[in-house]
């Protein structure tokens, strides 16, 4: 890192709703050491050049989560981004550090977005507090240590909104509950003291903008400065909702997952002609009919172009190569508990990459115990 001061160019997105002007870019020059943060530079500019620059901040050390912005098109904490690194990551070698407000939230002024209108509203949506069991224990509620380690990853969240900023499902469906709030939901669904696991999962599965509205784009995993991996928490919620609590949601979320898995068990390779109708309950299911009708124009065109042939769609040409595969499925699906390995918790053997995406000091190691698994109970039967 560069220790003596260097000149950096900051290109800030400016917007003042009271001025009636459209948002615009403004360039500033600032002299600072390369290891200082983008926030340091902005605060210096605000103190010395233009007192009207709007940015929210408090702790200046990646703890409070208030300085979320987009730097060179990527969301992150302004106080946790070195100037030199930001300059190196600038577009086409320009070294111009571009800072703009986070996405998916309305801009209030310059770099400040309305977290209440989006982020906090969504967090509130998931009932972000512990619902006690009745009767309330007289003394403290003692739980196995291991079960709390499982939720530490979500507890590392500092509510900065970086994941919300870049969520691609939210971009097209602003009502989507979104990564931060769903990660928060796992914090309680994974907590053995909470009494509402089923109710929470049922609620989030049935919400058309809930658990199954995430398009698995990984954006939130790369965005998060604390290694929370919101998408992984969403997948945990789905496993609990579908595989353990057998919640058949109206969004076809669990049905699709089940149809897909069964499809592979039967065919080895995905047989697309079955998986779509099966996700709606089968070709003859009243739910599937309107979907097939809606898709009819593309189905007909695909047949006309010989992209899809009747033979391929009706027969299962690959199936015979996978005769024994169902045994592999059976042996795993019939286990008493599901095995899940969370590298955030277990870490790496053999001195391999000891770092999980940006997890930094929040990483929890559980010693050399080797296999670390979450044993989620199966409520009814084993397989459906």
């Amino acid at each position: 890192m560069i220790k003596s001061p260097l000149q950096y160019t900051l290109r800030l997105r400016r917007f003042n709703p009271e001025s009636g002007e459209m948002p615009y870019w403004q360039d500033f020059k600032v002299e600072l050491e390369g290891h200082r943060s983008v926030l340091d530079a902005i605060l210096k500019l605000r103190d010395e050049v233009d007192g009207s620059i709007g940015i929210r901040c408090s702790c200046r050390q990646a703890i409070c989560g208030s300085c979320g912005v987009r730097i060179n098109d990527k969301p992150g904490l302004a106080c946790h981004t070195h100037l030199e690194r930001a300059a190196q990551a600038a577009r086409e070698g320009s070294r111009v550090i571009q800072v703009e407000p986070m996405g998916n939230m309305p801009v209030m002024k310059d770099l400040i977005v309305d977290m209440d209108a989006v982020h906090w509203k969504k967090v509130h949506r998931v009932t972000p507090w512990l619902i006690n069991r009745q009767p309330t224990p007289e003394r403290e509620h003692i739980v196995p240590r291991q079960s709390m380690i499982d939720v530490t990853q979500t507890m590392a969240c500092i509510q900065c909104g970086a994941c919300v900023s870049d969520c691609l499902s939210m971009e097209v469906d602003p009502e989507f509950i979104g990564p931060a709030a769903l990660a928060k939901a796992y914090r309680f669904v994974g907590d053995p003291r909470d009494a509402w696991h089923y109710e929470r999962l049922k609620d989030l599965s049935e919400d058309p903008h809930g658990l199954y509205d995430c398009s698995h784009c990984w954006m939130c995993i790369d965005a998060c400065p604390k290694g929370v991996a919101p998408m992984s928490q969403i997948m945990r919620l789905r496993r609990l909702a579908g595989s353990d609590h057998h919640i058949e949601d109206h969004n076809n979320g669990h049905r699709h997952e089940h149809a897909f898995t069964e499809n592979i068990r039967r065919n080895g390779l995905l047989h697309e002609a079955d998986v779509l109708p099966d996700s709606y309950g089968g070709k003859l299911n009243p739910r599937a009919v309107p979907v097939l009708l809606y898709s009819l124009p593309v189905i007909l065109r695909a047949l006309a172009r010989r992209k899809i042939t009747f033979g391929n769609a009706l027969l299962h040409p690959h199936r015979r190569r996978f005769k024994g595969l169902h045994r592999l499925f059976d042996s795993i699906q019939r286990r008493e508990s599901r095995y899940e390995l969370n590298l955030y918790v277990s870490g790496y053997d053999s001195g391999e990459p000891a770092e999980v995406a940006g997890s930094g000091p929040a990483m929890v190691a559980t010693g050399a115990s080797g296999l670390d698994t979450t044993h989620a109970p199966r409520r009814q039967g084993e397989d459906r």
């Binding site: 076809n252 592979i264 277990s346 995406a357």
Partner: protein
């Protein structure tokens, strides 16, 4: 080079032109494909969300089959396979006890996965194994004046550390590099790294098609002649479903979408029809016109 070849499911299902064009292009690049025909679906992230161990075991099985061949590495032609398999491999490679546990299931088929397989998408292989200079040297019909928009697919660009994308391997730039090496013009537009929406097509069709429609529209506004993608699942939402996406976003799109081997094949001198482009839902008219014009000009 000889590679253990994992074509994935969709390239042999609803996008047969992908598998077909890869088979045509491979010999021109001196790639010998050893097809893993007993390997099963990677789970596309869906099986993992149902049961993580099941997805890890299915992929460990594929890796073990690849290790039984004499291929230098394993090659896939699907962004989603790359991402889903890398995620499983990361868990398998990280924890010896877990790998043993998974291998115990595979023992029934006399298979065993040994830590440390190299699994590269065709895109990565083009840049890192074949090399852009060597690729360029094989170009018979440079893609001059063809404006191509890259569309990566989420699973091949995120999470960056899991996919080993760094300064040394800027794998999130490779599509642009390849387009340039083939003589084409890279079109920058808002959708390059975004999600095609396919994973939620059965859960929230409107949002899914809106994603596809928006990116196609952005590419159109940036004057792209076509898009190119290394992901057949993206191709399903961007090409097969494009007429439906048009309805949702309320605009005519007509944007051709090519699979990566098709674009490479075109530059290596193969004809659009040989590369299966007649199977596309959106006729790649701009590309066919371009190819015809190039032939016209050179005779």
């Amino acid at each position: 080079m000889r590679v253990a070849y994992w074509p994935g499911c969709v390239s042999r299902g609803f996008t047969p032109e992908l598998h077909g064009s890869m088979a045509k292009v491979a010999p021109l690049l001196d790639i010998e494909l050893i097809e893993l025909d007993r390997a099963a679906c990677c789970g596309a992230g869906v099986i993992a969300e149902h049961n993580q161990e099941l997805a890890d075991t299915l992929n460990a099985r594929t890796f073990a089959l690849a290790q039984q061949t004499d291929g230098e590495l394993m090659m896939n032609i699907c962004s989603t396979c790359q991402g889903a398999q890398t995620e499983c491999q990361q868990r398998l490679d990280a924890n010896d006890a877990y790998r043993d546990h998974v291998n115990a299931t595979l023992a029934g088929e006399d298979l065993r996965y040994e830590r440390g397989l190299t699994n590269k998408n065709f895109l990565w292989l083009l840049v890192e194994e074949i090399g852009l200079a060597a690729l360029q040297a094989k170009v018979a019909r440079p893609l001059s004046n063809l404006r191509v928009g890259p569309f990566y697919g989420c699973y091949i660009v995120r999470p960056m550390d899991q996919l080993a994308i760094d300064d040394e391997h800027p794998r999130h730039r490779y599509l642009q590099w390849v387009i340039e090496a083939l003589g084409g013009t890279v079109v920058d537009y808002a959708g390059v790294y975004k999600c095609c929406g396919f994973p939620i097509i059965t859960m929230n069709r409107d949002a899914s098609l809106r994603q596809a429609g928006r990116h196609l529209g952005d590419a159109l506004d940036a004057d792209a002649d076509c898009l190119v993608t290394p992901c057949p699942l993206c191709h399903l939402n961007l090409d097969l479903q494009q007429p439906l996406a048009e309805r949702v976003v309320g605009r005519k799109l007509g944007m051709p979408v090519l699979h990566l081997p098709q674009l490479v094949g075109l530059a290596l001198g193969l004809e659009p029809r040989q590369l299966g482009m007649s199977k596309h839902i959106v006729r790649p008219a701009s590309v066919i016109d371009w190819a015809t014009a190039v032939i016209g000009a050179s005779t």
